[in-house]
Symmetry: C2
Subunit: 451 residues, 2 copies
């Protein structure tokens, strides 16, 4: 009975007024009745529990046998003693999750079925085996030095970002990065934060959570209307120059220089959310806006689209003057992120596995995009990224209701816009696994047809 | 030259006014001069770059050869082309880290050299190999269902916590958990948050960051003075009943019931920081306070002391009524934590490896504690945890200065207290690796001797 469970811990509330054996029995019964122990839970071995309680082993054995007789426990020679019964469960109101749709074309995710498990695991093995002990202690709140070095090489090479390790801050995804920047800028006297219109509703909430007023500035086919921003009270602005989220426009060169000039002259900060800068499908990738003025542009990137949302890894490249405040806030928020995944990502970037994965993914996504364009020539914003906009001839509500009936998850344009807009869908063509892409498009075609 | 680098990405700013070959050369030169590319960085293969730019491969080859001739690049037959030179680095003001001390007896960390790398890696392999694809997508913001189930079984069994998966929220360590609770309670009208005195200064900062006033309530040998709390305006209180941090007292049974009564009658919340509840060295572990009133006590636990700070894994068990607000805030803060580590921890708990590691660690720490008590019989708070208080006969500043000279990292009591207190040290006897423990104690003995 001692084989595997000598190391199990169990907290028993023993009543000293009761006899020893009956006391142990009562405490175990209470633990099971109160669901402190659930069905299948392994009990401590009789030897371990006897040692912990300072009683003879036969006392514990007798208590276990009594409870087995009462139906509470399963005792078998050579196997650990387990709980056999628990009172009926209460309904769990909060434990329901929405039903998984059959097909998913909502934006925001890459094809996670293509996550490079083998390369990730191989790098993980090297890191966990070889890392010095202090890797497992509290890490540098800026992020592991190895990752900051690898990222600054990578971002310089691929996105033209002007940086070094000292200006990088690894974050738990872009949400946290945005919150850190908002808190830091509010502390510096910023009261109004401009966002693009359309924009992810979650980002408007994060800005508001930080105590800032949100000011929505319209976008057109060249990106943010910088002329309209100039007339506002905004002390900072969040933009997606490489590929406007979610409309898909690329910010024009004129708008970029106008935005950088606005920032410098106003003494305002631009937050550049470069969430999918790696996926550009025409010949000339557009570098990061940050390079135009690294003193007024905070660059933000993420591993969500290139690898997986589940990693929760993002990064900021910030003007040197903002770093101490960002760092202090990051430390208070979570004392820095988990270290091992950061070292694994650094290893993948250094070895070239990361670049290989991105290039492979880009080819696959470009094929998906071609297929989408062939079926829906009206889609907008196809130069980059993993989402396009599909204008609708009928109402969003009607299309979403149809899609639900077909088990197809879709996202309407409406919630992204702060003003009424023409009906449309934001199609995340990277989301489904490869084998589900064609059926998902077929379901989409059925869903949006007007007749 | 194409062997390994065809998959590398590179962003080049090409000036269309320049001839093709000289344009490529100029762009590469600029990229190297501006540190966009650093020494050793691998360039795209000539075939890949030629494809990307829409030029003949020989044009790229000629440009590479020219730059190699100028000393910018290393080109060798059969090896990838690499950057050979970068302009001298700027001094990096923020990139300095404090020098690692020779011995470390500061509190807050377990012996990370004992992290169970093999068990962790084996569980990681199973998880990364076998997990369904959607594991790599955005996870449940409450935390992975497997971990919440494993933790609710574990916390019920070992700490007597009354819970189920639906009341659990996995967090990025206790800092984030505290911030989430503070934000949620402020939203419900709480304005004053009581903390123990002494208390971690970081926690006072987190409470203040959330816009709450901090009210420090003295502790004595039985824990928090609940009578003094009752006279305050506090709408919530943070306590460490199992092992007061940092003084080491265990909250007495009378204080526990008095605190639970205060909470219920006042309609106030108690946050129980059970940071080291697994490490109890005398016979009867004291269960979680939360079991006295799960509707008014928010329980918080962590893997920092049992496994490693680097995991940044903690959890809340919250009254059902607080869950929706906590969850909404967690989602905005970081959209839920990284999934894979959570599944690995769930696997370790389920397999019994976690319990085995805790039990093994407890034996090792008990031995360390015995040794510490033999050398310093005056230490206080030795019933549990990984830290004790060592009263000093000389000033803290003098002891810290001596310790610094010896390369011994120590933490004084002063910063934990909101009022002047007797001088003392908080000794983290779990921090050093096993081989460094005796020398660290010898250095401590030298440091604190009065003569």
């Amino acid at each position: 009975m001692d084989v595997e469970c000598t190391s199990r811990d169990l907290l028993l509330r023993l009543d000293p007024a009761e006899g020893r054996r009956s006391g142990i029995e009562a405490a175990l019964r209470a633990a099971i009745r109160s669901r402190q122990l659930s069905v299948g839970a392994v009990l401590p071995s009789t030897r371990a529990l006897a040692g912990d309680l300072g009683v003879a082993r036969r006392t514990v054995l007798a208590a276990y046998q009594q409870l087995a007789a009462e139906g509470y426990l399963h005792c078998r020679q050579g196997a650990p003693t387990r709980v056999a019964w628990t009172p009926p469960a209460q309904p769990r109101a909060h434990d329901r999750r929405p039903r998984t749709p059959r097909w998913d074309l909502t934006p925001g995710s890459p094809d996670v079925s293509a996550f490079p498990r083998t390369a990730w695991l191989a790098a993980m093995r090297r890191v966990v085996r070889d890392a010095p002990h202090d890797t497992f202690g509290y890490g540098d709140p800026r992020g592991q030095a190895e990752l900051r070095a690898a990222l600054s090489e990578y971002l310089g090479r691929v996105r033209g970002v002007v940086t070094d390790s000292a200006r990088m801050l690894v974050c738990a995804g872009f949400n946290q990065a945005l919150r850190l920047v908002c808190d830091t800028l509010r502390e510096r006297g910023v009261t109004t934060f401009a966002v693009e219109d359309p924009c992810s509703p979650l980002y408007r909430e994060i800005v508001a959570d930080a105590g800032l007023s949100v000011h929505s500035v319209p976008c057109d086919g060249e990106g943010l209307r910088v002329d309209l921003l100039a007339g506002s009270a905004a002390g900072a602005v969040l933009v997606t120059p490489a590929h406007q989220y979610p409309s898909g426009a690329t910010m024009s060169a004129d708008r970029r220089t106008a935005l950088a000039r606005w920032a410098r002259e106003r003494g305002a900060y631009v937050v550049e959310d470069d969430y999918d800068g790696e996926f550009r499908y025409d010949r000339h990738p557009v570098g990061a806006l940050q390079a135009l003025d690294p003193e007024w542009v905070v660059y933000a990137g993420t591993a969500t689209k290139t690898l997986a949302p589940a990693l929760r890894l993002g990064w900021l490249v910030a003007p040197g003057g903002l770093m101490p405040a960002l760092l202090r806030r990051k430390e208070r928020l979570d004392r820095g992120g988990a270290s091992v995944d950061q070292l694994v990502l650094a290893e993948l970037i250094r070895s070239g596995d990361f670049d290989r994965h991105v290039r492979r993914s880009r080819v696959a996504y470009r094929r998906r995009l071609d297929r989408l364009r062939a079926l829906f020539p009206q889609v907008i914003g196809t130069a980059a990224g993993l989402q396009v906009m599909l204008p609708l001839a009928i109402s969003e509500a009607r299309v979403l209701a149809r899609a639900r009936r077909r088990g197809l998850a879709l996202r309407a344009v409406g919630p992204y816009c702060s003003r009424p807009a023409d009906p449309g869908l934001i199609i995340g063509f990277g989301t489904p696994p490869a084998h589900a892409y064609e059926p998902a498009l077929a379901a989409l075609a059925e869903t949006v047809r007007t007749s």
